[in-house]
Amino acid sequence: MLFKTFAKEELKILFEIIAAHNRVVGPVEKARDRNNKPIYAFEDVHEFHDIQLNYTTTKLPAKRFFLPFKEDLSTFKIEDDKWQKSIDYNIDRPVVFWGLHACDINALNKLDKVLLHSVYPMPYYAAKRKNMFIIGIDCEPQPFCFCRSMGADTALHGFDLFITDLGEKYFVEILTDTAFNFLRELKTADALEEDHILYMKKVDEKKKQFTARIDTTDLTKILDMEFQSEVWHQWGDKCLSCGSCSNVCPTCYCYGVEETVNIDLKGARKTKMLYSCNVIDFAEVAGGHNFRPLRHNRLKYRYYHKHRGFVEAFEESLCVGCGRCGETCLAGITVSEVIASVKTGSKE
């Protein structure tokens, strides 16, 4: 990894260089909530000043740009008794992600393990993932952030460039040639000992700000032991089975597929739709049998996939601790409380 620094005003120049020829997606303020707090979202940006560099966690992750909620996997043209299939990976040009936090970069790294580096990579994801340029940015932990507990508070790979605000200037980590070449057009300096010290200080300060945490010690074992625990019923009674937790989760990738015929019968399509293991028919199979008709079981398996099954397969959990699921859940179900309750055997 290469380290550099540059003066703050250089960042706008970098944006202009990159945005001149590329599609840029970054955090913008989308609206205000009932307490007049900004609601952030990842959107296409055309002006540097629209990017909210100090944004706090977006409600929805950047997932829709690489795992769209709805995506046609194939379309069919039908003529008499003949049909022709076409496949489009639904990406027409690279996307520059401007300002992803460490958790969201780590979420991509986790998705890669399943969708890119597995036996059957998913080309729809791969095509988009391979055409990304990612600029990471440092963040301030919010009361719901527990990324540190998940080892996701810092990103070691999965980005091109990561910038950290050191007050007077930015500290930059460079991972790729592309990033290096862009930076050649700016006035940069090599990072000196004093910059390293400032950076480490910043990291230390961040560490101290975390209030939410989960204890992952022996978690896979504990989950195995507590499979029949009463707490699952308690959380299940609360859950609305609305699926929002998965929809806002940067690492959930489950989907359903539907085939539809156009009304003129001259075309058809196969559409993928992101799904959630908390919704009623997630485990319903052909013939109508539902393996998980009970709400508490569905909720339990969401936790088992994230914190047990995935750990067994990949030696890390399928959760980056971004806290979005707990924030969105109207029933107030949060990862930290659920995990804590499994350990103590009581919801309270």
Partner: protein, 264 residues
């Protein structure tokens, strides 16, 4: 009402069997039927998939020879009961079209009043009409399929009719509106202090109301396994009054309590 060439319409070279369908309305605003008619872009294609033999809102000639009956509206009078039973005898498949037919719809709100005669007088004054308790179709006859919504979503009806014509299975969403709302990337209305029944209401409308910044009123009735009690609690904890919550839950009749069902 046949369109040219409709008789030899094929799908993948196989001739299409066009079921004979009839549309009927009972106590309703006819908005659901209008939904079906109101997209000229696909109407002709729609009509070439089925053979419409009766559709008062769209045609004058009609026939009694049909296989599928789409029925809009709730049942409020004795003569409606008789008419519905006759249709049931003729139809192979009876479809409840829209929330009035499925669970009474907005009309059933009047069932809240104990004295329906006084209500009749209040509404119609000196010219009372014969109109009693509001009942969904399934109270009187066997219903084979329900298409929810007030009004129904045209795209959903089209999909159902395509699948009927092609002999494919028809599956309505079992999950709630929130799934569609999140996919549409809406800001949750609760964030902005508005109530919404999206977490417990059956999807299929593509989160029509939240897309337009209005909370869901539950017009499509409960999703499978809807956690209504918890939803009431969530709304109460967020500061909404019992009245606000009940107004929403009772509006279309989909969330009728068992107590109420007993009353019918």
């Amino acid at each position: 009402m046949k369109t040219n060439g409709a008789d030899d319409k094929t799908y993948l070279g196989i001739p299409l069997y066009r079921p004979r369908v009839a549309f009927f309305e009972f106590t309703s605003c006819e908005g659901c039927q209008l939904q079906i008619l109101n997209n000229e872009g696909t109407l002709l294609d729609f009509l070439s998939l089925v053979e419409v033999v009766a559709f008062r809102e769209a045609m004058t000639e009609k026939s009694d020879d049909y296989e599928i009956a789409f029925i809009e509206g709730s049942i409020t009078r004795d003569d409606e009961v008789e008419r519905l039973k006759k249709i049931r005898k003729k139809a192979k498949v009876l479809v409840a079209l829209g929330s009035c037919a499925c669970f009474g719809g907005v009309n059933q709100l009047k069932n809240r009043f104990h004295d329906l005669i006084a209500v009749n007088k209040m509404v119609y004054g000196e010219h009372p009409v014969n109109s009693g308790l509001v009942r969904p179709l399934c109270d009187i006859v066997k219903v084979d399929m329900q298409i929810f919504g007030c009004p129904v979503k045209k795209e959903e009806v089209e999909k159902i009719v395509i699948n009927l014509a092609l002999g494919k299975s028809i599956v309505l969403p079992k999950y709630p509106v929130c799934m569609e709302c999140k996919a549409n990337e809406n800001i949750c209305l609760f964030e902005q202090g508005e109530p919404c029944l999206g977490p417990i209401t059956r999807a299929g409308c593509d989160s029509w109301c939240p897309n337009n910044k209005a909370g869901c009123w539950g017009c499509r009735g409960p999703a499978d396994d809807a956690n209504v009690e918890q939803m009431k609690k969530v709304m109460k904890d967020l500061g909404f009054s019992d009245e606000t919550i009940m107004d929403r839950l009772e509006c279309f009749g989909g969330f009728q309590t068992d107590e109420k069902n007993g009353q019918r």
